[in-house]
């Protein structure tokens, strides 16, 4: 039990550092918030008439529909940003200091992910605030908002694991940064910005099977209609899948990092 | 001799901070003027004002007869500049860079190509001319920067700490080149934090500290002002204070060097050595080494500012290293 308590203390300390680091650097936060907010504004303004299309889910407004997609976009950028911060730690030699300490290796990764999760939480709160200010209603009420927030935070953790794995494997911040276009690709090939049924092939088919679509729908449902157990479970399953993938990749990358130094 | 550079009451303030505080300088044509001072003294700020990169906030300056504010473009046409940062493009080859500089200076293409070839030969970079600058060593980059500054045969050449960070061999090479340029008639305004450099190269030296000129003249005249030689003693650990007490009775005590060497100015040079040694011996102080040192520019610096130039630089470097 004392080992668990000690590990928890380490994770807490590293997590606190990660969170402090994140929020002390405006240049890390602003792309995560500014860019998706700008896109939210122009997409709701530009494509908002899309709610008139036959087959569009019943929504109060296109803004209400888009909130989940913007949160997902922020979350993905947060994962990328966490990976960059981790790679910077590796480049600067800070992780060597941690590796040399008598702490479990996975605690190092978990601590880093705490910062990413905090960013995910921030993103969810930010877009809920934007939505409420501009008149969007949360059909699921407070429980719905809490569920959506929890899913966004959990998926930030999951995606952050993949970012951490890439950072550990490459040890290069510029390589992780260079993956930003991939983030956009994954987002566009999901139902983040438009209903999957109304997308154009081949994006439509890819979005149908994209795990991100399941997560987006899980976050969106409480906002546009109310809590739905099936959607929620599908989202949780998708997140769990990404978590498992992230853990496997991180473990391998960690072994590689410890081998090559 | 006409003046190539005339500075009168030149000032530069950055908000409340006055980096240059009303300096006066006159550099004759064909002269090498050494501008000596520690980091942060105002050397680079002065050079940037004289090369039109920075507007003065007070005073006047003319370079080659043109006012640096009102006739800035004329000034730029007559000067060559090699700044503290070599400012080279790592993706360009040496030859491309010199040709670009020639184009910037308004030289026709054929003349620019000829000058590039000649200059690359002159600074011993002909073999590396078609390699990218990013592959050059520090010394090669400095030589290239110098060559670029000469492409239009300027009347006045500004060199801002041209040998900082170079090994002794590269430094000597740059010195030789500066002397050769001056022999061809180019006026050189050289800033440096190296006493030896100013001593070796400059016809006249201006010493700047905290934005003010504290001394100016030929190296010999400045050293002569300081007057007497001094004896430099290395004593055992813990004996410095006692040695200073003894020496105070024998001559003028100077600020100690690196905390271990006691410096005492003596009137009669080597004739004073025996009585100094006797007095220390009688006081039971062991002398590890003893040297008679004639005045240097560092002595001039100490006399004017109260501290050693090179010690100050070492202290600043150590402070910077511990804060990063």
């Amino acid at each position: 039990m004392s080992d668990v308590a000690a590990t928890a203390r380490v994770v807490r300390a590293l997590g606190a550092r990660s969170i402090r680091q994140t929020f002390r650097r405006p240049q890390l936060i602003s792309p995560i918030v500014v860019f998706p907010t700008l896109l939210l504004a122009v997409q709701t303004g530009g494509a908002g008439a899309g709610v008139e299309l036959p087959g569009f889910p019943p929504v109060q407004s296109f803004l209400q529909f888009m909130l989940a997609g913007s949160m997902m976009q922020s979350m993905m950028l947060a994962g990328n940003s966490g990976g960059i911060a981790f790679a910077v730690d590796i480049e600067m030699g800070f992780t060597d200091r941690l590796f040399a300490a008598p702490i479990p290796r996975f605690a190092i990764v978990l601590g880093r992910l705490a910062g990413t999760a905090a960013l995910g939480l921030f993103a969810a709160i930010w877009f809920f605030a934007i939505g409420l200010i501009f008149g969007a209603e949360i059909e699921g009420g407070v429980p719905g908002a809490l569920l959506a927030t929890a899913l966004v935070t959990a998926s930030a953790l999951a995606v952050g694991g993949i970012g951490a794995a890439i950072a550990l494997r490459t040890g290069s911040a510029s390589v992780v940064q260079g993956l930003f276009p991939l983030v956009l690709v994954v987002l566009f090939l999901s139902s983040a910005f438009f209903p999957q049924e109304l997308m154009v092939e081949p994006a439509k088919t890819i979005a149908e099977y994209n795990p991100l679509s399941f997560i987006v729908e899980g976050v969106r449902e409480p906002i546009i209609s109310g809590i739905d157990a099936t959607q929620t479970l599908e989202a949780v399953a998708a997140i769990a899948g990404i978590v498992v993938l992230g853990l496997m990749l991180s473990a391998r990358a960690l072994r590689h990092r410890l081998r090559v130094g | 001799m006409a003046a190539a550079i005339v500075v009168a009451g030149l000032e530069r303030a950055f908000g409340e901070f006055r980096a240059v505080q009303g300096i006066d300088i006159e550099v004759g044509e064909g002269e090498i003027y050494g501008f000596l001072g520690p980091n942060g003294a105002g050397k680079t700020t002065t050079v940037r004002m004289l090369t039109t990169l920075l507007l003065p906030t007070g005073g006047r300056a003319t370079v080659a007869g043109h006012d640096v504010v009102a006739e800035a473009r004329q000034v730029r046409a007559t000067i060559g500049v090699a700044l503290q940062e070599a400012a080279l493009d790592p993706l360009m080859t040496g030859r491309e860079l010199i040709r670009l500089q020639a184009t910037l200076q308004g030289l026709p293409p054929a003349a620019g190509r000829r000058r590039a070839d000649a200059l690359l030969e002159r600074v011993d970079l002909a073999a590396a001319a078609d390699r990218r600058v990013g592959t050059y060593s520090g010394g090669m980059q400095r030589r290239l920067d110098l060559a670029a500054a000469l492409v239009h045969e300027p009347r006045v050449l500004f060199l801002d700490e041209p040998t900082t960070g170079l090994d002794p061999v590269s430094r000597k090479t740059i010195w030789e080149e500066v002397r050769a340029l001056n022999d061809d008639g180019t006026t050189v305004f050289l800033t440096t934090q190296y006493l030896e450099e100013a001593d070796q190269l400059a016809d006249n030296v201006g010493i700047i500290d905290s934005g003010r000129i504290v001394a100016e003249g030929t190296p010999e005249a400045l050293k002569g002002e300081v007057g007497n030689p001094h004896i430099e003693l290395l004593v055992g650990e813990g004996a410095v204070a006692e040695a200073e007490r003894v020496c105070r009775e024998l001559g003028k005590l100077l600020p100690p060097k690196d905390g271990k060497r006691v410096l005492v100015e003596v009137e009669h040079g080597s004739a004073d050595i025996p009585r100094v040694v006797r007095a220390l011996d009688e006081a039971g102080i062991e002398v590890e080494s003893l040297e008679l040192v004639r005045p240097t520019l560092d002595d001039v610096f100490v006399a004017k500012t109260g501290y050693h130039l090179e010690e100050e630089e070492a202290k600043k470097a150590a402070e910077e290293a511990s804060s990063t």
């Binding site: 504004a41 008439a49 997308m199 154009v200 994006a203 | 920075l54 500049v81 400012a87 200076q105 308004g106």
Partner: protein, 262 residues
């Protein structure tokens, strides 16, 4: 051999050409340097087409082909990214002391700025042509030679405007930390237009903004060949808008260039 005090037009052109040659080095001599500038607008083009392609089912679109409707947006986006990148490069040059080398020469300040801006205009042809090629592969309408020419003119001039904007910020802040502002500014200007849908289908607030945004005229001029035919009535407002933007941002950039020694 003193340099010419008042360099003639030949010397000015030679300087501009030399600075443009230097700017192209990064594309040619750094492996993969061109990729980010090409990748971003291409991803946006394919992504937006895949996501919002069915919007053409709404009345009001001049074409049933969303890829034809949106390809000029992506080409202009590429121009915006390229122009902003020119600003980032100038900021980097400033930090590394290279700009001092230019400022200490007798070359007129407008010549130094023109070299950077024109280099961006030419460079913008790369992502624009790549996006266009992809668009044709997935079925965008051929705009005709006149439509193509007008579109490319709009793209190169937009890149010049973005480069003036980026250069202005670079010379003002003297730091690459202004890079996000350079990118965000051009992106916002291009997207606050009928980028996603025709003016009449935009939400009221965006319709109001787009109506006064000069880039709307530029976009409509660039788009006309892809959704219909090219007319002078659709073209001249775009040219006027670009001329005005170049005057404003070019003037501001030149002002900053002249104030670097303050």
């Amino acid at each position: 051999m003193e340099a010419a005090l008042t360099p003639n037009w030949r010397a000015n052109l030679a300087t501009i050409a030399a600075l443009m040659t230097r700017a192209k080095n990064e594309l040619i001599r750094v492996p993969g340097a061109a990729i980010p500038g090409v990748l971003a607008p291409t991803i946006f083009f394919l992504g937006l087409n895949g996501v919002f392609g069915s919007l053409t089912q709404l009345g009001g679109f001049e074409t049933g082909s969303y890829e034809s409707f949106i390809v000029p947006v992506s080409m202009l986006q590429g121009a915006g990214f390229t122009g902003a990148a020119a600003g980032v490069n100038l900021a980097r040059d400033y930090e590394q002391g290279w700009v001092d080398r230019l400022l200490v020469s007798p070359a007129p300040r407008w010549v130094l700025l023109a070299g950077n801006v024109l280099a961006a205009s030419v460079r913008a042809l790369v992502p624009a042509t790549f996006v266009l090629a992809i668009a044709f592969v997935i079925g965008a309408q051929w705009p005709g030679l006149d439509g193509l020419l007008v579109c490319y003119v709009m793209v190169t001039a937009t890149a010049a405007v973005a480069a003036c904007w980026g250069s202005m910020l670079a010379l003002h802040f003297k730091s690459q930390s202004a890079a996000p502002l350079m990118q965000a500014g051009t992106m916002a200007l291009i997207l606050l237009t009928p980028a996603y849908a025709p003016l009449a289908l935009l939400q009221p607030w965006l319709e109001d903004v787009a109506s006064v945004n000069p880039l709307t005229q530029v976009l409509e001029a660039a788009r006309q060949g892809f959704v219909g035919s090219v007319t002078w009535a659709e073209t001249w407002p775009g040219l006027m808008a670009l001329a005005g933007l170049l005057l404003v941002f070019g003037g501001l950039a030149l002002r900053e260039m002249r104030r670097t020694n303050v």
